[in-house]
Amino acid sequence: MTVKGRLIAKGTATGPLLKSEAPMGFFGHLDPETGVYREAGHPLDGKCVRGAVLAFPRAKGSTVGSYILYALRQTGNAPAAMVLRECDTITAVGAIIGKIPAVDQVDISRLKEGSEVTVADGDVTEA
């Protein structure tokens, strides 16, 4: 199944889907040294984003979060790609400067946790 989203950051990548129905706060929660997300009560608490296609509604919190996505690329812990419901400026800037393919305006509730997903210049394909 392929759905067309809106292109945020170009590029092609494949990975297992890691999904959060709750917004993500990169700054203060996502550790660039390990790629692990830590926020008590959050669906991704304790999960590692490295190599995953990360699906979430939007980011929340500090705009410094863009630099966390950049840092994840530098440490090799970046997600393979990001799929959002409605992209915010923190994620858009972070995706571009971190060279993480990203797409939004996608109904993430229809994507299955763990399934193999490919993001290619705005298209999202679930195997």
Binding site: I8, P32, Y67, A71, C87, A92
Partner: protein, 426 residues
Amino acid sequence: MNLSQDELAILSGSRGSGAARAMEILSALGRIGGAEDMVDVCSVQVSGVSYRNIGPHGLAFLQEWAGQGSKAVVPAYMNPGGADRRLWQTLGLPAEFVDKQERVIKALSKLGIKPTLTCTPYHAAPRPKFGDHLAWSESSAVCYANSVIGARTNREGGPSAIAAALTGRTPRHTLHTDAGRLPTTVVEVGCPAPTASDAGALGYLVGQLLAHDPRGGIPFIRGVEPPEDSSREAWLKALGAAMAASGSVGLFHLEGVTPEAAASGPELQKAAGRKVKVDSLEGAKRGLFSAKGRPSLVAFGCPHASLDELKRLDELLKGRKAVVPVWVFTSEAVRKKAEKSGLAGRLSSLGAALIADTCIVVAPLADMGITNVVTDSAKAAFYLPSHQGVGVCFESQEAAVEAAVAGGQLCASKAPQAASSGGGAS
């Protein structure tokens, strides 16, 4: 979103990889913001300068971008950093921190951004004109430029402002468009607000009242006027800075005063979906009061003080020496002018130090043992408790000066709420 031939060329690298990255950021943000095209900007103000704020990852990114060789093509200015570049040793800042801060400034300078290090580029650099499109970042500067000058800017983040500097463009949406500048709420003010700190309290309240307006609150304010004397600009600045802090307001219209309201007030008012009333500022002033003990510092200049504000401080001191340290935050450009005229030397001899390049909200007050301050800034009073754990005694500039001179009576007027200030309201 439609990109021009020139913009498409920049995107594909005609002006280097740094500018291409900039155009990629701007076109993505334009798509998100619903822009149809881009506009040329006259100037740029870049936030995310303080190392305390952006940290090692932000610095690494700026260094990488600077290494790509693209430079600003329009005048571009830096927001404050974390240290006074001349006085950091006197102020007791760690050399290691100052070194990191200098690296941020160096990377941004390499990108062609000028180290003005101020939140008031309209005092430190040529003032924008009515209708100019800008890409500014700092919330109070954005609110001042949009409202008081009638220029047009969204509130940019650090990277998007740099992107605008490297390309001379920004996506045309929201506050760049006529429709995006229409007021959401009419605010009818039924109480006087004669001083700049009153204006700050009013702005704090307006921001709270509009915080949940769709598409960002834009007030049309009626029933109150700034003073006609030299404190007029400080009054307008305090009003906007406070509502930007408490309600992310990027533009206000003030009936008969701000240029768009003066030109077409009745039409603008009709566009507002609702109306609220403000009958008293007392609740707002209490809300801005957070001192838990006797303040050890009196702070002015949030946003950065102008030369007029420094002159006013000198007038209020009337040659009396402050017994509590007074810090006045300003830009290096204004400090240099004050040094030339002798004003800075006179203020210093009276116990008032001019601090430049940084900001009270990011200065390491807690490291210096400062836990309570007196200030006339509603913006500082809003941020200091949450950002720094510092308590605030919010006063008018006049009362704050008297507190600095009298020492023992710091916060006297609010004594019942200030646990250790000695009791006995005056």
